[in-house]
């Protein structure tokens, strides 16, 4: 990886290849090839896609919203690895070459609806299956204040609160590619966030769901999810903790 020199004035030419597919008119997917000049190493892949869409071909279609790595809309496959287009800078993709070659594809394992947009519904169905919400039927504390939690207890699930549901992990997982019924790393991360929350009371139910055939045991510890996560969540570790809890019954 090249050191990013902000304001160095260095400019690159980028040969951008984008996987295109519009089922309304294309019999099969094709590669759109675009040459971009004057690209700064601090430009993001999203900047490049915007440049194509706004100045070369308005029909290029992608999801994006905040453009700052928070909303999780623009996860895609960039040079063969999942990342958020808005966070992936050209400087990280130069490979010491000019022109820089960048290839962008939709995430794998979910149906392509158009160009870089995939159908997220199967992903969210898995997400919903792990009860990703706070469950506690006890009445709130008498003093009318919040349910308290020690900093140590909060720390147990701190990492998994960072998930933005971009699907970069789940769609980088070979187990998920092989069988879309696998609940996938993102759903397990979301379950983890509640299982280890001392204020929540439904951990047994969630562990039961994840102990099923298409739960955590489909994970073969490949670590693609951890590598793909744009929030640096230790996804494989979170999955391992859930596996451990299922085996030992301890949370």
């Amino acid at each position: 990886m090249e050191k990013i020199q902000v304001g160095s004035g260095r400019e690159y030419t980028v040969n951008l290849r984008v996987r295109r597919y519009n089922p309304e008119k294309d019999a099969e997917p094709w590669w759109g090839e675009y040459t971009l000049e004057g690209v700064s190493p601090t430009d993001s892949v999203l900047d490049l896609l915007h440049q194509v869409k706004w100045t070369m071909d308005g029909s290029l279609t992608l999801r994006r919203s905040c453009a700052h790595g928070v909303c999780g809309s623009d996860a895609m496959r960039i040079n063969g690895a999942n990342a958020l287009a808005c966070k992936m800078l050209v400087a990280r993709l130069t490979n010491g070459q000019d022109p820089v070659k960048i290839q962008v594809e939709p995430m794998l394992g979910l149906p392509v609806l158009k160009d870089l947009i995939v159908d997220m519904e199967p992903f969210f169905e898995h997400y919903r299956s792990v009860l990703p919400f706070f469950i506690n039927d006890d009445p709130p504390p008498q003093d009318g204040r919040e349910r308290l939690q020690s900093p140590e207890d909060r720390e147990k699930f701190d990492d998994t609160t960072k998930c933005i549901l971009c699907a970069a992990c789940t769609t980088s997982c070979p187990s998920f590619w092989a069988d879309g019924r696998y609940v996938g790393p993102a759903a397990i991360v979301q379950a983890h966030r509640f299982i280890y929350d001392s204020r929540d009371e439904a951990y047994e139910e969630r562990l039961g769901i994840l102990a099923e055939q298409f739960g955590v045991w489909k994970c073969r510890t490949i670590f693609n999810c951890t590598n793909a996560c744009p929030r640096d969540i230790e996804v494989t570790k979170a999955i391992a903790e859930v596996k451990m809890s299922i085996t030992t019954g301890k949370v």
Partner: protein, 124 residues
């Protein structure tokens, strides 16, 4: 529009810049009405069409923002006028309302309801 608004109607703004911006925004509004073309003619996920429609809305809002800010001759919160650096509660403790008036915009104001928190000077 994006570059113009960032350069001339950002958090720190001045009379001249905003007056310039208003002029350019009017030109952009006209260009929008006459020069607009859409590449994507499809019916599925047509973000080209959506963005074109959004641009029309944003151009209108940009004009409302620039005009309202130009007229507010004080600084308050995220509206920092380098030419009027102080807050002026006597003249400007009021909400701006902007109305479409034919091809132009008309400003009106309404009083601020203050109940719980009294306004005070920001000292940090």
């Amino acid at each position: 529009m994006q570059k113009l608004m960032t350069a001339k109607v950002g958090v720190f703004r001045m009379e001249d810049g905003m007056a310039d911006a208003l002029e350019t925004l009017r030109e952009l509004r006209e260009a929008y009405a006459t020069d607009l073309a859409i590449d994507d003619k499809g019916r599925r996920f047509n973000s080209d069409l959506l963005e074109a429609w959004e641009l029309g809305c944003l151009l209108e809002l940009a004009e409302v923002t620039a005009y309202s800010a130009l007229m507010r001759k004080e600084s308050r919160g995220g509206h920092a006028r380098d030419d009027y650096p102080d807050r002026d509660d006597e003249d400007w403790l009021k909400h701006t309302l902007c109305f479409r008036d034919g091809e132009d915009y008309r400003l009106d104001y309404k009083p601020v309801v203050i109940d719980r928190y009294q306004p005070k000077e920001r000292v940090y």
